[in-house]
């Protein structure tokens, strides 16, 4: 049995822990559309990325915005990929690997070490 006071303290701790990392929720993803600019995408998600990573493949600049997508009790890194200044694709790392455009696959591989370093 937990006293009312302890319950309030626990709830406050859970809330504070949740605030530690900015999180995206699945419902927010519906607001994204291909072709959005980085500013429009951040504004649609109502959140700035945790980090940004740039690379160039075949002369085309790619920028990746790193977010953390919460799935209830679990969550994972979620990325937005801009080709030039336009939103091209968004998803989990494994979804980027399956994307049918090989340039996107290569851009992903190029920025992955930076993303992993930024996470730690």
């Amino acid at each position: 049995m937990i006293s009312m006071r302890n319950m309030v303290v626990m709830a406050a701790l859970v809330l504070l822990t949740a605030c530690g990392t900015a999180q995206l929720y699945h419902q927010q993803l519906v607001t994204l559309d291909k072709g959005m600019s980085p500013v429009q995408a951040s504004s649609a998600l109502q959140q700035t990325p945790l980090s940004m990573h740039e690379t160039t493949v075949d002369g085309i600049p790619y920028t990746f915005h790193r977010y953390f997508l919460s799935n209830g009790r679990f969550g994972d890194t979620y990325l937005l990929c801009f080709e030039g200044e336009k939103l091209k694709y968004w998803g989990y790392i494994e979804e980027f690997r399956r994307y049918p455009d090989p340039r996107i696959n290569r851009a992903m591989d190029a920025v992955l070490p930076q993303i992993r370093a930024a996470k730690n």
Binding site: I2, M7, L29, L32, D33, K34, G72, Y89, Y99, P100
Partner: protein, 174 residues
Amino acid sequence: MCRLPSRRSVVTGTADAVNCLERMPMTSAKLWISALLLGVLLGGCSTYIPLQRPQTAQLSRGADEAQVERALGKATVLASHTFTANGRQFLAKHYDLQTGTRQEMTTRCHRRRGCIPVFYDRPIYDAYVVVFEQPSGQVFAWGMLEELSRSPDDAVSSMMPALKASYAAARSKQ
């Protein structure tokens, strides 16, 4: 004052029990209203049927509306609207797809006994849409809204801003 009657007072019909019986019509009315509300709520629930994954596995490009209806059974269509994108006319039908459940917790608190956590499973839904090209009435695209927005097929992803705007307008009318 209406106190809870002791077992003895009920059996013997003493003052405590009699006082409470005076308030019985009011209590009875409250009970009937609660039962009625519950009935209305349950009636509402029975008409709302979310989509399940195995049903969506039966969808395929080119299927017509009747085939889709058969595949999706009695799943509730939340909204149906037509829109134009890239010079083509479409009909969109929206559903809720149940993608899983999440465990939530609430607390029951008692002044003397403290608080007890109570866990329960809550279903998770995602917005799902089936898009028919008009006038052929054949399935053009299907999936979750965010899934279609990032589709590698530009014919599908470029249609999504118009679909979402039309859906928002249809919902605001409801």
